[in-house]
């Protein structure tokens, strides 16, 4: 086995460890019927051991890959997103040892799994660094950001648990709607992973020629059956499905197709769950939240922001500015990634002021924590893939 193969096998190992640990944490929480916490602690111990093993493998992946590529593996979508999954689990492990909260594992690990699965849909070969990235500031800046985001995500996880416990699901309300919306979104990510994996495994490929927004001919490879076609596209693959709808040049129809497939599969999955169980997903989970200590969740929510916010400031603003000054000759250039780092930072500043100045604690804080994570995910997915694509220099 070459080192790079060892590296990717370690990542698989981590993935499966997290998968198993999720269920053991679930079992620990579910088994605790009397709220005695004895059995919860016992099974919790097993689950955290599996998680830690997975995490060590995950770290092993990270450093072996570093050795192979010669630079910190934080330089493209695959690497950054996997690292985010890793810091998420790292953040959880710290919290577990501080507060002994299996229920947090039940929520964080599946999200980390989804993030790692999402990451692996991107090209994963080790790639060379363009000149701008050849600096230690890259590793310093990105690793601080990814750790800060992993910690900030804990605030969302604690917030989500808080909401799952307190939101009254028997009555129609905005809270119930949005809470279910969050869970529906997670199912959509599952939809993305399923559809991508299916078409990858079946080697679907269809090449098109099209006219891009600068009126030039270009070719593109679709890895999913084309629901949307590129502007004036002509299929170069024989006997392939023709697009159902053609789109104007501005739209990246191949990405739109991917999104649509994910929506489709995810929604089918969601509807199936609803039909079979005859319940909202939130209702399925809520019984597991019976023994949750709300005050503790609120505390974790706030603690995570208190640690994550200064780290995020350091990584996403201070170090980013130093890097930009050295590389691009200016510390700030208002490009979308920079702006979204600022947006995220301003959001958490608002969170702190609302909490300290307006006394927004408990449920309000929980919602803010979840929204913060949504902004981070928006940054990771939409800004990288869609907004950056709209900009000519990307």
């Amino acid at each position: 086995m070459t080192l790079i193969e060892i590296s990717s096998n370690l990542l698989y190992l981590a993935f499966f460890a997290y998968l198993i640990a999720t269920f053991v944490f679930g079992g620990a929480v579910k088994g605790n019927k009397k709220g005695s916490f004895n059995s919860e602690q016992r099974w919790g111990k097993v689950a955290i051991t599996i998680t830690v093993i997975g995490f060590l493998a995950n770290i092993g992946y990270f450093f072996t890959r570093w050795i192979v590529s010669g630079h910190a593996p934080l330089s493209n979508m695959f690497e950054f997103t996997t690292a985010f999954g890793m810091t998420l689990v790292g953040g959880f492990i710290i919290l577990y040892y501080l507060y002994k909260t299996p229920v947090l594992g039940m929520v964080v690990l599946p999200v980390a799994l989804l993030i790692i699965a999402y990451a692996s849909m991107f090209p994963s070969e080790v790639s060379p660094l363009i000149p701008a990235l050849q600096t230690n500031w890259l590793a310093i800046h990105v690793s601080t950001v990814v750790i800060a985001e992993g910690i900030l995500a804990m605030s969302a996880a604690a917030g989500l648990i808080y909401l799952l416990k307190v939101v009254d699901l028997s009555k129609k309300s905005k809270q119930r709607f949005w809470l279910e919306g969050i869970l529906y979104f997670l199912v959509l990510v599952v939809g993305f992973v399923i559809s991508s994996s299916y078409f990858t495994l079946t080697n679907y490929e269809n090449t098109f020629q099209y006219v891009n927004k600068d009126d030039q001919e270009a070719t593109i490879i679709y890895n999913m059956p084309p629901i949307f076609g590129m502007n004036e596209s002509v299929s170069l693959t024989e006997n392939a499905m023709t697009p159902l709808v053609e789109t104007p040049a501005l739209v990246d129809a191949s990405k739109l197709t991917t999104v649509t497939w994910s929506l489709l599969i995810g929604t089918i999955l969601y509807v199936l769950i609803r039909l079979i169980t005859r319940r909202r997903i939130a209702q399925l989970i809520q019984p597991l939240m019976k023994n949750v200590n709300l005050q503790l969740m609120d505390e974790i929510n706030y603690r995570a922001v208190i640690i994550g916010f200064p780290l995020f400031t350091l990584g996403a603003l201070v170090f980013a500015m130093i890097w930009a000054q050295i590389t691009w000759s200016r510390f700030w250039g208002w490009d979308p990634k920079e702006v979204w780092a600022l947006v995220t930072w301003l959001f958490y500043a608002a969170y702190l002021h609302l909490r300290l100045g307006k006394g927004w604690q408990g449920e309000k804080s929980a919602w803010l924590g979840v929204i913060g994570f949504a902004i981070i995910m928006f940054n990771l997915i939409v800004v990288n893939l869609i907004i950056a694509g709209l900009h000519s220099y990307a």
């Binding site: 070969e125 790639s127 600096t135 201070v318 500015m321 608002a350 002021h353």
Partner: protein, 552 residues
């Protein structure tokens, strides 16, 4: 407004909620509530006291956290909208009209609306800058409004407080005590690193007061940062120039008097996918060539002090340096960055003067495309006169040839050819692809032989004297954040009444859990009465009431 007289005899400034001396509640509302509002120690904040003049109103507006948070939220939403379509600096158009057309053509009606609303140049627009200005004003006013009274009251704290102050604290307990209870508590608190002051029958233990200044320190850091950003609008603080330097060329560095830069060589390296780079083979196969390095080997010169301005014959070599991405050349407060490049720009073109019929050559001439001369004398007595040079020929307008840019991308020459056979001269217009003979059929023509090319390096010259200020602002911000977040202010008041009863109260600005842990240890060792968290009691009572409503 009038001063407020407390029962204890102390005179408080108007607007005070808790007596500065004894801590009694001074307003009826506070007297009736279970817990006192301890934020800012119940002192008189200007914004809560005056609301008459226009200045009061402005002050009150900007000191409100609600307003501050609203400004932050508006800013973040606006900033986010600015990323939906590229900003004008990133689009391939340079004039007002072409920019507008670009948005309309590329993004359709969405682009048109976006441009019309001014989002194409959001971050330097008046209203965006005005919002940042309001944020700064709000930061200053809100901080002053709170800091000044808070500082005064924490500085002048009395040890003994009125029992009605004590029993309205969140942490409160009372009960019998022994003779040495106060002493023991004092010892234990000192052990826990509290500052303890005693006065008659009471003590005040305090720890971490400096953390209360954290928010103000971090706000000062932000203000310094914003101030630094503003400074760059003043000439001299900030220089941003670009310089295209061709191989072999020496030029004065724009905005940097007395310095010259020579481009000795520009090189571009790509990853090969072999040897060291073999590990990247797969990636290179997928995406094509990837640039590994580009660099300009430069020589930096300076004019000697006594030389005439603009004289370049006796320049002193200061430094030779390879400028690469991430490795700018630095000198004298300036930095020169490798930003861009253009490979194989035309340098010179060689033509042969030929007889169209016989194809016989009367000699060759080479035209330097950057500094062409007017007349070229050939050996056999022929001359070529350059009547007009259009480095980036873009077509004719009213019969006149036009050039789009001064760069030799598509050179066009208007020439007069004089040979012994045609002493009157023949006029011809030549571009890379074809020849036009505007004044009738000619006997001779210029035949393209070959062209020299060279690389051009795109450099940016930068000076930013505001960086140290921004750095200091950032540092102060980080210190303030750590100070306010990772430390907390804890206080205990303990009193023993004449009958031996102990009163005990505690307060912290955050982290009640930590406060209780400290207190538990003191209660243990000094045998203090048990305490309760009155907030918890209130919460429980509320919850019980709610559930009562539901079940009934």
């Amino acid at each position: 407004m009038e001063n407020v007289q407390c029962q204890c005899g102390h005179t408080n400034p108007p607007g005070t909620k808790l007596c500065e001396s004894c801590g009694r509640s001074l307003t009826e509302k506070d007297q009736n509530s279970k817990l006192v509002d301890m934020r800012y120690e119940g002192t008189a904040r200007r914004s809560q006291t005056y609301n008459k003049s226009i200045i009061d109103k402005i002050w009150n507006f900007f000191s409100s956290v609600k307003v501050g948070v609203s400004i932050i939220v508006i800013l973040l939403v606006a900033a986010a909208i600015g990323t939906i379509l590229p900003q004008q600096a990133f689009v391939p158009a340079s004039t007002e009209a072409t920019i507008q057309a670009y948005y309309a053509d590329t993004y359709g009606s969405v682009g048109r609306v976006y441009h019309a609303l001014g989002f194409h140049d959001l971050y330097s627009s008046f209203w965006f800058i005005a919002l940042v200005g309001m944020l700064a004003i709000s930061l200053v006013i809100a901080s002053l409004d709170r800091f000044v009274p808070l500082y005064k009251s924490l500085k002048n704290q009395r040890v003994l407080r009125h029992p009605s102050f004590m029993d309205k604290q969140r942490i409160y307990g009372s009960g019998p005590g022994a003779e040495d209870t106060l002493e023991k508590a004092e010892t234990k608190l000192k052990e826990l690193k509290y500052n303890v002051r005693t006065d008659k029958n009471g003590l005040l233990a305090e720890k971490g007061r400096f953390s209360r200044w954290g928010p103000y320190v971090n706000h000062i850091g932000l203000i310094i940062f914003l101030f630094g950003v503003m400074l760059r609008m003043i000439p001299g603080f900030y220089i941003d120039e670009s310089l295209w330097l061709r191989e072999g060329e020496t030029r004065a560095i724009p905005e940097v008097p007395g310095y010259y830069l020579e481009n000795k060589n520009f090189k571009l390296e790509t990853y090969t996918g072999e040897g060291e780079d073999a590990r990247f083979e797969e990636a290179i196969d997928r995406v094509g060539t990837v640039v590994k390095n580009y660099q300009t080997d430069i020589v930096l010169y300076q004019e000697p002090e006594d030389s005439l301005p603009g004289a370049t014959d006796n320049l002193e070599v200061i430094q030779e340096y390879p400028i690469r991405v991430n490795q700018p050349l630095k000198f004298d407060g300036y930095a020169v960055y490798q930003m861009d490049y253009k490979l194989n720009e035309l340098k010179a073109m060689t033509f042969a003067l030929t007889n169209k019929e016989t194809e016989e050559s009367l000699g060759e001439l080479t035209i330097d495309l950057i500094n062409p001369v007017d007349t070229y004398e050939l050996e056999g007595g022929s001359t070529v006169e350059l009547l007009g040079y259009y480095p980036d020929f873009s077509g004719f307008e009213d019969g006149e040839p036009q050039t789009a840019t001064p760069l030799p991308n598509n050179p066009g020459f208007l020439v007069e050819l004089t040979t012994p056979e045609t002493p009157a001269g023949e006029t011809s217009f030549i571009t890379i692809q074809n020849t036009v003979e505007p004044l009738g059929e000619n006997q001779f023509k210029l035949t393209f032989q070959n062209a020299d090319t060279r690389n051009v390096s795109g450099l940016t010259v930068r000076k930013d004297s505001t960086l140290p200020i921004l750095g200091i602002g950032g540092l102060i911000f980080m210190i303030g954040v750590a100070q306010g977040m990772y430390f907390n202010h804890r206080r205990f008041w303990i009193q023993q009444k004449a009958d031996g009863t102990i009163l005990l109260a505690g307060h912290t600005n955050k982290n009640w859990f930590g406060l209780k842990k400290d207190l538990d240890r003191v209660v243990d060792s000094a045998k203090l009465p048990a305490y309760t968290d009155q907030q918890d009691e209130i919460d429980k009572a509320e919850k019980a009431e709610k559930e009562g409503e539901v079940s009934s």
